[in-house]
Amino acid sequence: MSVDEILLKSRFQPLERILAYDVFNTGFNGWMTLMPNFTEYPDFDVPATLVCKDQWPPVMLSSATYRYPGTHGAMSGTYSLKLSTRPVAAPYVEKPAEGSLGHAIKRLSFYRPENRFLQIECWFSYTAEQDVVDGGDRPQPGLHENSIRDFGMGFDVQEHGKRYFVGMRYLNAVDGKLTQKWQYVHSRDGVTDEEWAYGLKGDWCKKGVDPWWFGKRYPNGDHDGFMNLPDGGQKLIYNETDCKLNWQYMRLKIDTKLREYVEFQCQDKIWDMRGTKADARDGYDRIDNLINPLFWVGTDTNRRVFFYVDSVVVSQE
């Protein structure tokens, strides 16, 4: 058994058939930044929208190098996949500011008719840029934990003519106040496509699609695109300074036959999500059998924040 196989079996719990095992110390492995569609006349313009989506920064291979300790490295070597934001944020209830999110996506597809379950699992970490020490009445000046609004992982799936988004979001902070709880992708009943797209009539997007930038947000952290996971509070590791990373584990399993969530795990805690429906919409043209695993991160203040993925496994059964 090779070292890679040992690490795979020790660190992950893959389903029977592994579609992707990406260790970012070896390269990008096809994970790239999510960008808008450059399709419109006359010069590859983007479709009309109220959310600027061409400012999400590029993903990169990071050595996680900081001002004082130097290079942190990754769990599996030197490099991890880094998602980042620009140093700009809007208040929580407003639509995302240009560049306040970072996304990574890999584009795959179904390949065996009997594959019912789909799973993504990864080792991750996150931090905020160690730029300036915040003053005022902060209990721990220089610790920028509450600059990170959210991060998460999930899938964009289309099969048998239905498209749905499933994923888990760690809502870390809302306008500077730590919330530290998990939410799952599911759009609120009764919301119209127009309301979903901040009132723009004719936006190409449908309710439930692309919840990280669409969907109304509420002051208490609620969101028309994310529902609170029951008993979903969890304090993840954010070590004593912004330049200390701890690698943590999360896993999401879904059922593509019932179009339901099955199970979510983060660190050593497991949530049974059976019976939680994905909200399926009529499929889009030309993308049936699509599987797009993805990650994202968002900043809560005018400071860059970073989400690192050491390695990820996508599997089916």
Binding site: T33, D54, T65
Partner: protein, 109 residues
């Protein structure tokens, strides 16, 4: 086999005045090139581009190379001189008008 990667840094947006591109980590790469595509211009702009390096992604210094100076639409190239460390960015100044940019970085290593 070597790895190569192209990342966007700015796309389809007018710029004037000064700005630095997003801090980008290139520790894995042996070579790096900024591709500056000027898709449209307004006025008579001149772009001056200086490669900058950083130890931590926060504090920046010029890399010691001569700044690149461009005018006009089309593709312009800034080859980063060797020994660039981990964090790099392009520090840009546009005077005399506006430029509509598609700015990428290509790394190989």
């Amino acid at each position: 086999m070597k790895m190569v990667n192209d990342s966007h840094l700015e796309v389809k947006k007018y710029f004037s005045g000064t700005f630095g591109t997003h801090p980008y980590e290139v520790g894995w790469a042996d070579e790096a090139i900024f591709f500056v595509m000027v898709e449209k211009i307004e006025g008579n702009p001149t772009l001056t581009a200086q490669v900058q390096l950083s130890q931590d992604g926060v504090h920046w210094a010029d890399d010691g190379s001569t700044p690149s100076v461009f005018t006009g639409e089309g593709l312009h190239i800034v080859k980063v001189q060797p020994n660039f460390g981990n964090y790099i960015r392009l520090y840009v100044n546009i005077e005399g008008g506006k430029m509509f940019l598609n700015l990428h970085i290509v790394c190989k290593g």
